[in-house]
């Protein structure tokens, strides 16, 4: 079937199999920032935004993206770069394989939650697994990132 969708702001027409998963389609189309992690819907590495909401592309049928907007990390170059710098300055980033999915979820969280507490941040980011590190340095990086974004928006 022909999938007509918008990826990172650009309209795309892609020929897909009816039972293709979004993760496979995106990777085949060259969006390699979308990572294949557990492939069972548990790790959050394959996260993309579908009409602004974070979803697991390994568990979403590509056909369901018909007419919708998909965003991968490439759609947010400034935020991604800034977030990465806060992550590295806290020593939170190690292999970086989980970063695209994690960063996208952080971006969605900032849009959805106003002044979240640490508990709310942890809750929103449950389901984004990182095998290299603990999560304390990541939380510090998120706090710094949010503070910086807030000043920027003022």
């Amino acid at each position: 079937m022909l999938l007509t969708t918008t990826i990172n702001g650009r309209k795309k027409e892609i020929l897909i199999k009816d039972d293709d998963y979004l993760l496979d389609v995106l990777r085949k189309e060259g969006y390699l920032s979308v990572k294949r992690g557990c492939d069972t819907g548990a790790c959050g590495l394959c996260t993309v935004l579908l009409n602004g909401s974070p979803i697991l592309s390994c568990s979403t049928l590509a056909a369901r993206a018909q007419g919708k907007h998909i965003s991968t990390i490439e759609h947010f170059p400034l935020e991604a770069k800034k977030f990465a710098s806060f992550m590295t300055s806290e020593g939170a980033e190690q292999c970086g394989f989980c970063s695209p999915g994690f960063t996208l979820t952080v971006i969605a969280m900032i849009k959805e939650l106003e002044n979240p507490t640490d508990d709310e941040i942890m809750h929103y980011l449950n389901g984004n697994l990182c095998r290299c590190s603990g999560y304390v340095s990541q939380l510090r990086a998120i706090r710094n990132f949010m503070e910086d974004m807030k000043h920027e928006n003022c």
Binding site: D18, L61, A63
Partner: protein
């Protein structure tokens, strides 16, 4: 990996139903999160995404939840919160992550009668009904007790509208794991309902224990009695997550905690 040969985007429930009946290997799609863990090849996969079944609405006598509503919307619904307290938020918030809960749909969870479900005991304790396209409206309890999977479409869940005190209790090995056991308790005007799930079988109502509370003058005084009683009433079993005897201990302890919560 599951696969299918044709994706069918239904434009009406009638159309979806007639497509479903055409072949034994046709299926209705929910969130597809668990379906994909199976290893079956299907013929036509019928998608209800375009039928506007994603809603939580306030009707005269019921709160009505469309089959395609996702768990994240249930978790954050202020309408559900207003009538039933925080039971939906508490039961759903630890199911993996936000992304996963955005995928998973109410209809598929209930229709599939998953034993591990944290949602089903909540709906059961709230005395919910299911509306099937062909089968009409029936009690959720009756629907769960049916052994055959119907060739039908679950359209919506209807929850009787009453402001009640509720509690959801569960034990998980880690924060976002499946429950080892879970129970949902509802107190409406001193009438208590209790549903137990992850036994590990399908969720059921603890009717005799409910009776014990509901016939008593002083519910709080019955708690210790009920803690002994519920273990005899509810069939529990062992699986990789916990043994039968561990579940018995947990169930009694969680019952006490839950009842105290709905009395406060």
């Amino acid at each position: 990996m599951f696969s299918f040969s044709k994706f069918f985007l239904a434009s009406s429930l009638e159309e979806a139903y007639s497509e479903l009946l055409k072949n034994k290997k046709n299926i209705i799609l929910g969130g597809t999160s668990y379906l994909r863990m199976g290893n079956t090849s299907w013929n036509t996969a019928i998608d209800l995404s375009n039928l506007k079944l994603d809603y939580i609405s306030d009707e005269d006598n019921f709160i009505s939840i469309g089959a395609m509503t996702n768990f994240r919307n249930l978790e954050t619904s202020s309408l559900l919160n207003r009538y039933f307290g925080e039971i939906f938020t508490t039961a759903l918030r630890d199911i993996i992550g936000v992304q996963f809960r955005t995928n998973v749909t109410v209809g598929a969870t209930v229709f599939s009668k998953y034993g591990f479900s944290d949602l089903v005991p909540v709906l059961l304790a709230l005395d919910s009904k299911v509306k099937l396209f062909n089968g009409g409206i029936i009690d959720l309890e009756k629907f769960l007790n049916e052994t055959d999977i119907r060739r039908d479409i679950l359209v919506e869940i209807l929850i009787p509208k009453k402001v009640c005190q509720t509690s959801f209790q569960c034990v998980r090995k880690s924060k976002t794991d499946y429950s080892i056991i879970n129970l949902a308790i509802c107190n409406f005007d001193n009438n208590i309902t209790i549903a137990v799930g992850s036994r590990p079988g399908k969720a059921i109502l603890a009717k005799k224990t409910m009776d014990l509370f509901n016939k008593s003058e002083d519910i709080e005084k019955e708690i210790v009695n009920a803690m002994k009683y519920i273990g005899d009433e509810i069939p529990l079993d062992s699986n990789m997550r916990g043994s039968k005897s561990y579940r018995e201990l947990l169930l009694a302890a969680l019952l006490r905690k839950g009842i105290q919560e709905v009395l406060n």
